[in-house]
Point group: C2
Chain length 288, copies 2
């Protein structure tokens, strides 16, 4: 199977699995369940599920077993986007080319939908064979010492002038922690040993930052229509980005460097890791 | 030990355990961690931890083992209060006699603090010996088919005229589900068998509703100063309560009936369940 076909397969099975895990919109409370489905289904690149499946395949985890951590990570990601778009946070009206959840529904419903999506992530792992260790790992990645903490650091940085190291510290928490969890949970669903996990953990650190650097470059270069979310938003809100701190050329150079480092970390894992290598290129070369 | 001393002991150990589980306010991101601690510590009746300990004691669970599910339930409760008080929800400025979290800090920090408190609840169970089954139970109680769903039903009911059955359906989700989980998780931390769990589950259903009926009576009768939260709020916002639907006298009659039913459900459990009996009286006779 070539990479494009593999990616389409994983994306399709993730969509199906998410559709089954989410309560039906016909079940009470209907509006809440409809908002949860709206926020999760029919959009998104599914980067975390792709990384989870790619990492799990190295260690012979079955696609069905990988759907569980993949969906759990994606549900955490989806909840964070819903809350991030709220007026008291980034105040954005557009997400994945559609009105943000609080625009399509209302603020209170979006708040509750985000809350319930987070709960569903843990319910998913706990009800479908995830171990307490996996649940603890996801929680650590999502909470105040991970993603939510990164968002708090991000908020505090508005109008400030952090250095690149401080920006990196923020991103390691805000996006890196969950990406890392998606990769490691996938590997642990298979037969990964501690040495392989250590290697993957190094890869995860690089790919997390790479993802963010590319995001900042795209945000500076692309139009809102192409991105499906408001472009140029960070600069407009006076939020530091790799592009505002380093300039476009230097940000591109940094992305190239991180790509090389990420791929180098995969070499000891051999040909079995080729989907992760392909995903690395995809993340850099994507246009939205 | 008399009931008052027992209650003080459980409340004190809960406070200590929560203080340890919460990240220190000196750890980055400091403001987020300070807001999380503010929202959880130094206030609250700790009804859920009390019920959890009382249920666990029947089946010889150790207090140390009970601290974990007790704190997990209380963290879920605390997160729900922080989000509930936000302007887009109940828009309340006062909680536990202090400024609400978003008043003391800011809306974005309160949103993230609530998010991270929910995560911490699952992290607590997963990291300290909770089983996947216990985690799934707590998630089901907290999510869109439990507490968060109840809040969505509550929102939809503003300005509506539900019947008592509809009000009950809302409360069974909004407060009942988590109270029930606190009781059952406590029992499961001990040696409770399925028959005992069935009996406790019946008790939990009654005590959950009883708690809410008494809350509505207190809200109608007491002052803001006594309650430590804004009194008369539900009536002012045109939210249906047991008092607005039934009148004060009939609400009191209903509370008495639920108290009798709750206590009757405990009889098969014998004298070991006496803390739950005492808690039932405490919940009815409390003045705030």
């Amino acid at each position: 199977m070539d990479f494009a076909a593999w990616m389409a397969t994983v994306q399709a099975r993730t969509e199906t699995a998410l559709g089954r895990l989410l309560p039906p919109a016909t079940q009470a409370p209907q509006r809440l369940h409809a908002a949860m489905r709206y926020a999760v289904l029919g959009g998104g690149k599914r980067i975390r599920p792709l990384l989870c499946h790619a990492a799990g395949e190295i260690f012979n985890a079955s696609p069905a077993a990988l759907d569980i951590p993949a969906c759990a990570a994606e549900l955490i990601h989806a909840y964070s986007l819903v809350h991030d778009d709220l007026p008291c946070m980034d105040d954005d009206v557009l997400r994945r080319g559609k009105p943000a959840c609080h625009i399509e529904y209302d603020e209170a419903t979006a708040l509750l939908a985000g809350d319930a999506l987070q709960t569903l992530a843990f319910e998913t792992l706990a009800e479908h064979g995830g171990s307490a260790r996996m649940i603890a790992q996801l929680a650590l990645a999502a909470g105040s010492r991970g993603m939510a903490g990164g968002q708090a650091i991000d908020l505090a940085a508005v109008g400030q002038s952090p250095c690149v190291e401080e920006l990196e510290f923020m991103h390691i928490h805000k996006t890196g922690a969950l990406i890392r969890a998606a990769i490691l949970l996938g590997a642990e669903a298979g037969s990964a040993d501690d040495r392989a996990l250590f290697q993957l953990s190094h890869f995860a650190g690089r790919i997390g930052l790479l993802f963010q650097v590319v995001d900042d470059i795209l945000d500076a270069e692309m139009s809102t229509a192409t991105l499906g979310k408001t472009a140029g938003k960070d600069a407009a809100r006076n939020k530091p980005t790799y592009v505002t701190l380093l300039g476009l050329a230097e940000a591109r150079r940094k992305a190239a460097e991180l790509r090389d480092e990420a791929k180098a970390a995969l070499i000891p894992l051999g040909n079995a890791a080729r989907r992760l290598t392909e995903l690395t290129d995809y993340i850099v070369d994507r246009k939205f």
